[in-house]
């Protein structure tokens, strides 16, 4: 028998390989993130001071929506070609295998957002002292988005009309991350401490790490039973 860690690694590497093979698709959420965030200056006002004050919110909402779009990558293709079935039949505890799939998803979809975010900060006139908080909050927050999103992706994976459904299921659950993430950046911009925000996001990350893979496995088992 093969060890659990080897199976997790194999799952992780497979998903990264697949993402690498479909490089074009990989860029879509990122481009979406850029475009959506640049709509705000056009829609609201290009005044740098005003933009700077709402930039944390814009960037965080943009990251949230981009993650939401990318959740389709997680299980949908696997479900359509039957590899999800074979995945669920792996003789290792599924909770951990799902966790490594989610981790791969974050590397593919979440991490690029964290890296691009400072660029958007510059374009939106984010105060200089807020960049560390921006990166930090996104670094802790985007994995939570992937973890919570996995539950929704698992529940909707077999559905033909799942596309519109997923945001309805998941967005309300994203609210705490949005609140703490955006306000961390805002507070940092105003020169205030952000320890509390970071602590909350960290705690929430651990909490979702414990809960979400379990719920996702239950959801996936349901979805293949259809």
């Amino acid at each position: 028998m093969i060890s659990l860690s080897a199976a997790m690694l194999a799952t992780f590497r497979r998903d990264l390989l697949l993402a690498y093979r479909a490089k074009g698709e990989l860029l879509n959420p990122l481009m979406f993130f850029l475009i959506v965030s640049s709509l705000f200056p056009l829609a609201v006002s290009p005044d740098p001071e005003f933009l700077g004050s709402i930039a944390p919110g814009i960037i965080w909402v943009g990251a949230l929506l981009a993650t939401l779009l990318s959740l389709d990558l997680l299980f949908k293709a696997d479900h359509d070609d039957g590899t999800l079935e074979q995945f669920l039949l792996m003789p290792q505890p599924l909770v951990f295998l799902v966790l490594s799939k989610i981790l791969a998803h974050w590397c593919i979809a979440g991490l690029p957002l964290v890296i691009v975010a400072p660029l958007l900060g510059v374009m939106l006139g984010l105060p200089e002292n807020a960049y560390f908080a921006l990166m930090m909050s996104l670094l802790l927050g985007t994995p939570i988005l992937s973890l919570l999103g996995a539950i929704g992706a698992g529940l909707t994976v077999g559905l033909k009309k799942g596309g519109m459904l997923l945001p309805l299921l998941i967005l309300p659950l994203y609210i705490p991350v949005l609140i703490f993430g955006a306000s961390a950046v805002q507070s940092a911009g105003q020169g205030m401490a952000i320890n509390g925000h970071i602590a909350f996001l960290g705690a929430y990350l651990f909490f979702t790490l414990a809960v979400c893979p379990l719920a996702t496995v239950a959801a996936l088992k349901l979805s293949v039973a259809r």
Binding site: M1, I2, A6, A7, A10, R14, L17, L18, R21, A22, D78, D81, G82, T83, E85, Q86, L88, L89, M90, P91, Q92, P93, K221, V224, A225
Partner: protein, 210 residues
């Protein structure tokens, strides 16, 4: 018989959409046996296989693996079982070689040579590094079937394995199934394909008599 059966089903009962697919279904499967699940369309053949493999939970009754309850012995069961469903489970963006290596990695470290040998067996040697979406439907089926030739698990659960396979491939597959049983493995399959007399098969018929 001192040893417990590989698979033992006791009084299985399954309902779908208020319709009873089967009830009081009991059977055993042992080393060296080939069991064909037969019946008309919609009789619940695929459903039965999916219940056995654990992809479908909507049933009542008892199922055990090597004398142990199926749920308790799940990891041991999965470590010894190969399931082939309606979908080939072959990733288009990956080459046949990558597909097989990923699949094998759940059991043991996959070796390139054994993967090549398996592809040779299904007549796909030379295709190993072509992305699978370039292959035809039949060839993709063959990639899935190549799993039978990798260090094979003891128990095969095959749902319509002969679909989209050409004549020569069918003969080859029949032979493989018989050989697997002779080596001490066990096979449970559904098919509408007429198995030749040379295949020693036990039949379990679903539907009709309700």
């Amino acid at each position: 018989m001192s040893q417990s059966a590989w698979i033992e089903a006791r009084n299985l009962r399954c309902e779908r959409d208020d319709r009873c697919l089967f009830h009081n279904l009991s059977f055993t499967l042992n080393s060296g046996e080939i069991l064909q699940v037969a019946g008309p369309n919609g009789a619940g053949k695929s459903t039965l296989l999916r219940i056995l493999i654990g992809l479908s939970a909507g049933y009542e009754g008892g199922l055990s693996w090597m004398g142990q309850d199926m749920r308790a012995g799940r990891y041991d069961f999965l470590a010894n079982t190969l399931y082939l469903g309606h979908q080939p489970g072959v990733k288009g963006a990956m080459t046949p070689e990558e597909n097989l290596i990923w699949w094998q990695s759940r059991f043991s470290k996959a070796e390139r040579n054994s993967v090549y040998a398996a592809l040779e067996q299904v007549g796909l040697r030379g295709y190993e590094d072509i992305p699978s979406y370039h292959l035809s439907a039949g060839q993709q089926r063959r990639v899935a079937l190549a799993r039978l030739y990798l260090q094979p698990p003891k128990l095969w659960i095959l749902d319509e394995p002969f679909t989209a396979i050409d004549k020569a491939g069918v003969t080859r597959l029949e032979q493989t199934i018989v050989e697997h049983a002779q080596r001490g493995g066990a096979v449970i399959l559904t098919t509408h394909h007429e198995l030749p007399q040379s295949v020693p098969v036990r039949t379990l018929t679903l539907g009709g008599a309700q």
